[in-house]
Subunit: 348 residues, 2 copies
Amino acid sequence: ISPLRWEGGVLRLIDQRLVPYETKWLDLKSWEEVRDAIRDMVVRGAPAIGITAAFGMALCAIGFEGDGGDELLEVLEEAGRGLNDARPTAVNLSWAVKRMLNAAQSAKDAGHSVMEIKGLLEKEAINIWMEDVISNLEMGKFGAQLIKDGSTILTHCNAGALATGGYGTALGVVRYAHFSGKRIKVLADETRPWLQGIRLTAWELLEDGIEVEVICDNAAGFFMKRGEVDCVVVGADRIALNGDVANKIGTYSVAELAKANSIPFYVAAPFSTIDISTRSGEDIPIEERSSIEVTTIKGITLGPENVIARNPVFDVTPNELITAIITDRGILSPPYEDAIERCLRKSS
Amino acid sequence: ISPLRWEGGVLRLIDQRLVPYETKWLDLKSWEEVRDAIRDMVVRGAPAIGITAAFGMALCAIGFEGDGGDELLEVLEEAGRGLNDARPTAVNLSWAVKRMLNAAQSAKDAGHSVMEIKGLLEKEAINIWMEDVISNLEMGKFGAQLIKDGSTILTHCNAGALATGGYGTALGVVRYAHFSGKRIKVLADETRPWLQGIRLTAWELLEDGIEVEVICDNAAGFFMKRGEVDCVVVGADRIALNGDVANKIGTYSVAELAKANSIPFYVAAPFSTIDISTRSGEDIPIEERSSIEVTTIKGITLGPENVIARNPVFDVTPNELITAIITDRGILSPPYEDAIERCLRKSS
C-alpha cells in the first residue's frame, strides 16, 4: 500500500479522507494543487506529506515555461514557501522542500540547463520517496527487536503505509514483527477527530491479516491499567533536539498513561524527523484547525448547532516519557540530545 | 431541565439518544419498558437511572392485579432483579430498587392493603426523585466553594441535569458557581462513543448561558499541560468504601493526566453513590457494550466493515488520584474510608 503514485508528470494521491469507504485517486498537475491537497488532508502523515511536497516542487519545475535557471529557482522558492505554509507542525514538509531547493541550486551551479534541472528534480523526488520506503523497512527491523512474541501493541493515529512512502513507521515496526513470525495484536485508538485509527490503521492491518481491535481514545488508559497493553508505538511529526516529540493530538496523554502504568512508550520515525534547529518541544508550532472538524462527522452534526469546539491537532510528548526512539539509523535511548549528536557525528 | 416526568401512572422519559437533535418523550407504562429504556440508553447517568428504576418499581406495583401483599412483594422482587440486570455498574440502580422493596415490605408489615402499598410506592419514587434534586443543590453549594472565580473547569461525559433528577452533580457544581456570580468556563470532553459531552453537556450549558467549549477526549491532556485547566469535576456511577470511583470510560485517564499536571480532580456524587458493600474499585463490575456502538455513529460506519471494537463503558479511578469527593453531606477528603465512616456515624 502506498498513498501516492507518480505517473510521468502527474502525482496521483489516494484521497485519505474517504479511505476505507471509497478508493478515489486524485490527479495533481501543479504545485498549487499539491499544496491544497496537503492543507485539506487528502494526504496526511508526516513522511507522506514530505514526499508529496517533493513532488509538488518537481511539478512546479516541470510546469516552468521560461528558460532561465535563476528564474526557475525563484519560482521554486515561492512554491516552497506556499507548500511549507500548508501544514505547520510536521518537519518533513520543510525538510523535503529544502532538499529539493538544494538539489535545484546544485544543479544550476553545476551548469545544468533548465531542462536538465527539471529531470534532476523529478529524480530527487522519486529518491526521497524510495529512501522513505527503505527507511521504513530499516525502522521496522530495528523496532521489531523491541516487540516480544505474544505482545499487544497500542498505537495512536495512523503511522502506517498510508502515512509514509509505503511500509509505515509505527506500523512498519508492527508489520516487521508480524511477518518475522511474532504473534502480536494491535489495539488501535480510533483517533478523533479524523478517525485515522479506525479508518486507516484498522484497514491497513486487516488487509495484512494482523489482529487488530479498535478502542475509543478515552479507553487506552483502561486497557493499560488492566494489564492488556505490553507496549505503545507511535509515529512523530517532528522531534526536537532534546527528544521532545510532536505527534497527533492525544499522543501526550497516551505517553503519560503508559508511564503511570510502567509500559514502554516507543516513537518510530525516520531520522529526518529530528529537527536540529528545534531545541525543545516548546519551539514546535501546534496547528489548530477548525471547530467543524470536531463538531461534525461526514457532514452530520454531533452536538447543538451553536457549539464551538477547540481543535488542536498535535501535542508534544516530553522526552522523559519516551522509552526509546526507533529511527532508520538505529534505536535512540535517553538522553536523546547525546544520542542524536552521536548519530549526526557518525554520518558526517 | 429534568430527563423525566411522572404523570399519574405513566413515566415519561426524554430519549437522550436523540438530544439535542430531537425532543422526543417516550411513555412507559410497565417495569419491563423501564428496564428496556435503561438498557438501551434512553436514560443514562447514575442518579437518573436510579430514579427511573424507582418509578419502574412503582409501575410494577400499580400494574399488579392481584390482592395479596405477599404476592405483590414477589412480583416486585422479580421486577427488581430485572431492573438491576439492565446496567451492572451504577450502584444507584440497585440502591433505588432496594429502597422501593424495603418500602413495600414495611408497608405490608404495617398491615397496609395492596391499594395502599401501591400509593406508598408511588410516593416513595417521587421522594427519591425530589431528594435527588435537593441533593444536587446541596452538592452544588458545597462544591462551588472549591471553584475559584475565573476558573476553567474540565468535565467528562454528562453529569448534568439530564443525568439526575434535575440540577446535576458535576454540572450542579458548575451551575451553582455560575449562578452565584463566578466567571467560569467549561471544557467538555466530547466523550466517545455516545458523545454525551458534545450532545448533552454542551447543550445544557449553552441553554443556561454558561461558556463551554468542546474538545476531543484525546485533547484533555494537551489543555492541562498548557495550563488552560484549573480543575476537573466529574460525576460517579459507584464509589467504593476506599474512595475508588467508577465513572464513564475515560475518567481514569483524565484523573491520571490531572495528577501529572498538578490539577485538582474532584468527583461530585450524592452520598448514596457510595456502596459500602464494595470495598475497592476492583470489586466493581465494568459493563462492556457492543462493538457497533463504537464503529458507527447514527448508523454511519466509521471504519472497515469487518473491524471489531472493544467497548468498556466505565473505568475505575483509584482514590489516590482524587483530590476530594463532593457529596450532599459535605466534601470528603482522603483518606476516604475514614471520611465515609465519619459521615455514616454522624447520620446514624
